[in-house]
Symmetry: C2
Subunit: 111 residues, 2 copies
DNA sequence: ATAATATATATAAACAGATTATATATGTAA
DNA sequence: TTACATATATAATCTGTTTATATATATTAT
């Protein structure tokens, strides 16, 4: 019963960066973390995360390195860059304003 | 200094329906109303509104009629349908949940 | 007068982020 | 040994938004 995928659109990079701000992580873990926090309402496809990674890496928002390949399926870790931190901070401030404006627009003045 | 157009994506129809819930309106007026409520942060192109109208009309969310064409530029008015009201109510409840979850995902547990 | 601007609608083509479908490979539990 | 969870990757497709363009009337400034 997940929500329209357009709802996440434009927030995917911000959410990934928020997670990477506290610790390095990898695609599979980030996907699970978003779905868990979404309480059954938010779904993210793995392909969305991996294509976002490519974009963010070429934009200089994240760096990447391979985890210890000797055990289990190999993990590719991502690390937030200085530019990524700045990008996140901008988007965070933006969200605080935008969420208020969107609520005004969606709920309206009668409520 | 408007925000990424992806932020609005998926909310456009909900916002239009919220406006039409209180009174019939037309494209130009709705566009101005959204931009004004957006306090300089939210921009919507007229083409976005008009293409949304087409979609919503074929989905049965709105009906249309021409305004009095004898004065000024002709206006095409839109009216919300019963299906449109139901659609809006669903999206409104959805937004109340989603905005909370998005805040969790974007701001994180440290704040 | 006439140029500029505001009001008003419409649509084809381009853009871009998300999904679908598919491929590959390892570890673990039944 | 079958099934499932873990783990990454990308080409093709989908879809809502933007860009660009066209058309037409009303008002304001020069």
């Amino acid at each position: 019963m997940a929500v329209s995928s357009d709802i996440l659109r434009g927030h995917t990079e911000t959410i990934i960066l928020r997670i990477l701000r506290s610790k390095d992580s990898y695609g599979y873990e980030i996907t699970k973390e978003i779905i868990e926090a979404g309480e059954g309402l938010i779904d993210v496809k793995d392909a969305t995360i991996y294509t976002a990674f490519r974009r963010m890496e070429s934009d200089g928002l994240i760096n990447t390195y391979w985890g210890d390949g000797t055990l289990g399926a190999r993990r590719k870790y991502y690390q937030i860059t200085e530019a990524g931190i700045r990008f996140y901070n901008d988007r965070l401030e933006e969200w605080k304003e935008i969420s208020r404006l969107l609520s005004n627009l969606i709920i309206g003045p009668t409520h």
